[in-house]
């Protein structure tokens, strides 16, 4: 069975079904992270004494990670306007940046665990590990999607690859925005 409108835009929605599906997925993800941010707001405002992230977290590592993740999005965004061959190379570069993000995050976690900072230490750290852990899972899923798109680039053809790259670019923008909110809430405030 051939799924319709994977490469052509639908006349009624104005987008392909691939882009439409990605927007719906992002809407559900916004609700998921929205619930967690709401829990963060509830817990931080309710607490008599809420610690600042600077007490526990490494701001330089967080800043470097933010720059690295922005590179992933920039590369994915550029890939959406490129040919299938160039998009493949750009997605590979993006995946390497995403792996670097995960590597730095693991390093940060290792520092925190060695300092005795665990989710059970306090509510702030429980929220920190929940939010950043869930975000890291999204980065892993993004890398898997990149690899899947790269592997199928030559097989599916130019039009299909363009659709997949557009969807991936949207996904990485979402992952980046979530990280920027986490970075602002956890590291800066």
């Amino acid at each position: 069975m051939i799924i319709p409108y994977t490469t052509d835009r639908r006349a009624d929605t104005g987008v392909t079904n691939v882009t439409m599906g990605m927007w719906l997925f992002i809407a559900s993800e916004v609700m998921l992270f929205g619930a967690l941010f709401s829990a963060y707001a509830l817990l931080s405002v309710s607490a008599i004494d809420w610690p600042s992230g600077r007490q526990f977290l490494s701001l330089p590592l967080g800043t470097v990670n933010t720059i690295v993740l922005i590179q992933v999005t920039a590369v994915a965004w550029r890939a959406r306007q490129s040919s299938a061959i160039k998009a493949r190379v750009l997605l590979m570069i993006g995946s390497v940046f995403a792996l670097a993000f995960l590597g730095l995050k693991s390093l940060e976690y290792a520092h925190e665990f060695s300092a005795g900072l665990r989710p059970a230490t306090n509510t702030f750290l429980a929220m920190y590990f929940t939010l950043t852990g869930l975000h890291a899972l999204h980065v892993i899923a993004g890398i898997a999607a990149n690899v899947w798109a790269i592997a199928g680039a030559t097989r599916v053809g130019e039009a299909m690859m363009a659709g997949r790259t557009r969807a991936l670019a949207l996904y990485w923008v979402f992952v980046d925005i979530v990280w920027l909110i986490i970075f602002g809430l956890m590291y800066l405030l």
């Binding site: 929605t13 104005g14 927007w23 809407a27 916004v30 709401s38 509830l42 405002v45 309710s46 607490a47």
Partner: protein, 82 residues
């Protein structure tokens, strides 16, 4: 039997209220204590969740109006051709 059950309920509720008096009065939401931390926290949490839900709903509404607009344009084009 019904009167007996009602009496038991009243006695148990009374005992519960007497036994857990401090815990009941500790709930600032139930007793509408405006300046309590928990009240502010609930307000902030609900506010953030409503904001996020609002943004998503506005997105869906915009999409629905966009589809309706495209449908109307397609209909008028079809009528013109006929």
């Amino acid at each position: 039997m019904t009167t007996y059950r009602a009496a038991v309920r009243i006695v148990l509720t009374g005992a519960l209220c007497l036994g857990t008096e401090a815990a009941i009065y500790a709930c600032p939401i139930c007793f509408q204590i405006e300046d309590a931390h928990a009240t502010s926290g609930i307000r902030a949490g609900v506010g953030v969740l409503m904001g996020v839900t609002g943004v998503v709903l506005v997105g869906f509404a915009r999409f629905a109006t966009r589809v309706a607009g495209r449908d109307a344009a397609a209909q008028s084009q079809l009528t013109r051709h006929q």
